[in-house]
Symmetry: C2
Subunit: 262 residues, 2 copies
């Protein structure tokens, strides 16, 4: 069983036209597939309108009780269901899921010893219910995950969507006769060498080049954890990891992407 795991995020979610286009490309991808989506800016929009102050530590959001409610409402509510409804209109039999549904992703509250990130759920190799995902795929259902997980004790938690995508790809790759490819799709053609030039994307990046670029800050901000997730997947059984515009999904010859190499 070959499975494509596609993550869409950033401005592909925020802009309605981009979202429709991305989902059209996703629909054209043949065979077994899983979609994971990020949250975009909707949670920030509602938090700001509701007057809930947003706290960041080292660039990462702190999820307090009120913020947790907002992210559940936006990620599992409006964004997830909107995506499922659009996919259904394209005759893709999508099924929206958060980690609690069918107990598909169980997380544990992030350790608060050093920094308290609040209601954030971390996941590990045992978190993903591969049995359920395979069961859905075998029945021609396309699982669409938002980045909300649960701890098994009745609590929902906020988990990074890239991390969920990597762990789903890794966990399915460990299953008998399963091969997975992971695709991180966003609004750029790949990992850029020069942030000012949208055409300056790498065709390939290997792990040692990534380490170098991380050191000299050629790669920074959100791209660092994204690539860490990507290389982590590649080192743990995922056959191929690519980053780029969703346009490449329906065309293996499309070179507008960065391919990660070991």
């Amino acid at each position: 069983m070959k499975i494509n795991i596609v993550k869409i995020g950033g401005n592909l979610i925020n802009d309605r036209n981009n979202l429709h286009t991305s989902l059209k490309y996703f629909c054209q991808l043949k065979g077994n597939k899983v979609l994971i989506h990020g949250g975009g800016k909707k949670a920030d929009f509602f938090s700001s309108k509701l007057g809930i102050p947003q706290k960041l530590i080292q660039g990462r959001r702190v999820t307090n009780k009120e913020t947790l409610e907002i992210v559940i409402m936006t990620y599992a509510g409006i964004i997830n269901k909107d995506i499922v409804a659009i996919l259904q209109s394209y005759h893709c039999n999508a099924f929206g899921l958060c980690g609690a549904d069918g107990n598909c992703i169980k997380s544990y509250l992030r350790d608060k010893k050093n920094i308290d990130y609040g209601y954030v759920g971390d996941i590990n190799r045992k978190s993903v219910n591969t049995h359920l995902i395979k069961f859905l795929l075998e029945n021609n259902i396309v699982p669409v995950f938002c980045s909300i997980t649960h701890d098994g004790n009745g609590n929902l938690l906020n988990t990074n969507a890239d991390t969920i995508a990597s762990h789903i790809a890794i966990s399915l790759a460990m299953e008998k006769n399963c091969k997975t490819e992971l695709h991180f799709c966003f609004e750029k053609k790949g990992v850029l060498q020069n942030m000012q030039d949208s055409e300056s994307f790498f065709q390939e990046i290997n792990f040692s080049l990534f380490q170098k670029m991380k050191k000299n800050h050629t790669i920074k901000n959100g791209m660092v954890p994204k690539l860490e997730n990507a290389f982590f997947a590649l080192k743990n059984g995922v056959s191929k990891v690519s980053i780029g515009l969703p346009d490449y999904l329906n065309d293996v010859n499309n070179k507008n992407k960065t391919i990660l190499c070991p």
Copy 2:
């Protein structure tokens, strides 16, 4: 295949302790079961906080574009996922659904000729994907429906939860070898004869008594459409319809409920 269809609404949703207790009773119900939940007061709370004016026509909410977003976020987002996480913690393998997921409930925009209720979806006998619901039940998954449906063209719509419960019960009852019972659970012991006396519930109501009471206004407000949904189900193949506290769900001898008779 015998299937219990349970609707919970009103203050069972608004109060956290009531919600936990209701879900415990639901878990104790043996065999195949489906849960449908209402929206409670959360959507009103967020609409008011966000300054979205609520318009009612003849006591029914008008769903404009902004209200639709709020009801999707609250019903399909926080309430549905919260319920699923709690059920999972009680080892009930719940799976949250809106009508778009697996195309399980397709609706059509309500006719605007007389009154424009906005983004409200009406459903009919063809709306419910019984194949999917039976498939989930046969695989020991408990479907948990919120009252958001879709039109198949990428649009989500707001649908009355009691109506969804009735139509699910009716559609499943029409399937070969299927028998359904419908339970409307709320914060009272049944349909009250005297609204000031919580013990004054009817043990039974038949259709002609309902018609009489509707005429002389013994039964009014929200109870009228609820009973109309209930009698509609009873007339269309549902074996039994009861209304009461969720406490009666795990005990067939519990008399704290109103049973509807043809």
